[in-house]
């Protein structure tokens, strides 16, 4: 595929903190639907985005049980992005910074996410058509 591009993103914000995460996920979704190959290097709090033990909870203020509340979980968004990329002929490879994982005890990640080092980000940046670093503020 002549126009198949490879884009790398680095994100650092943890779940439920910043609109930046949603914006990056919108970018990933858009690129995934084009069939691009995507790399995501999760650094610092972002390693908790694909944490597999996230669970839905009830909301007493809303009077909802867990099913009714249907609270969105970032791990499901990550899984959905991986599936979207695959469905359109691309791939989304997700690496969690290993030291950041150890610091946070976030060892359990969903399928499709693995552990690595900042060296992986460097290698991806060398191999990609472009790289966008989205830092914390």
């Amino acid at each position: 595929m002549k126009d198949k591009k490879t884009l790398t993103f680095s994100i650092m914000d943890g779940p439920y903190e910043q609109a930046r995460t949603v914006t990056v996920f919108r970018l990933l979704d858009n690129a995934a639907r084009r069939g691009y190959n995507l790399n995501v290097f999760a650094y610092e709090g972002a390693v908790n985005l694909p944490f597999s033990k996230q669970s839905k909870h009830p909301n007493a203020v809303h009077g909802h049980d867990a099913a009714e509340e249907d609270h969105p979980l970032p791990k499901d968004w990550v899984a959905s992005l991986i599936q979207t990329a695959k469905k359109h002929g691309g791939a989304l490879d997700w690496i969690n910074c290993g030291l950041c994982v150890d610091e946070r005890g976030a060892h359990e990640a969903i399928d499709g996410c693995r552990r690595g080092t900042p060296g992986d980000l460097w290698n991806w940046a060398q191999q990609s058509d472009n790289t966008l670093i989205v830092g914390t503020r």
Binding site: R20, L27, V134, R137
Partner: protein
């Protein structure tokens, strides 16, 4: 001439750092580069009718392509037909397009 994509997600009323980011965009354009400033999230707030543009007017005057994320504008109730001259609404596709073309990209 280089091509740049700058992404601003904050508004200039939140932090003065944004004014420095505007100055970066203006400087790059004044130096002859092709510069897109993509405003997203609260970055679109200066585009609200009646808001003070602060340094953003200089960015526009310097020839930077200033775009406001359609989704962010809708979220904040900013009608796209009321944007100041020099700011255009655009889908987030533009960012992916420009990343794919290999522009130098900075999330400010």
């Amino acid at each position: 001439m280089e091509k740049y994509l700058l992404i601003e997600s904050r508004d200039p009323y939140e932090t003065r750092e944004v004014e420095n980011n505007y100055a970066l965009a203006s400087s790059l354009a004044t130096a002859g580069n092709d510069v897109t400033l993509f405003l997203v999230q609260n970055g679109v707030l200066p585009a609200r009718k009646g808001a003070k543009l602060n340094g953003l007017q200089e960015v526009i005057n310097s020839g930077v392509h200033v775009l406001g994320d359609e989704f962010s504008l809708r979220e904040r109730g900013i009608a796209m037909d009321t944007l100041p001259k020099g700011i255009r609404a655009a889908p987030i596709d533009v960012v992916v397009d420009q990343l794919a073309e290999g522009r130098k990209a900075i999330w400010l």
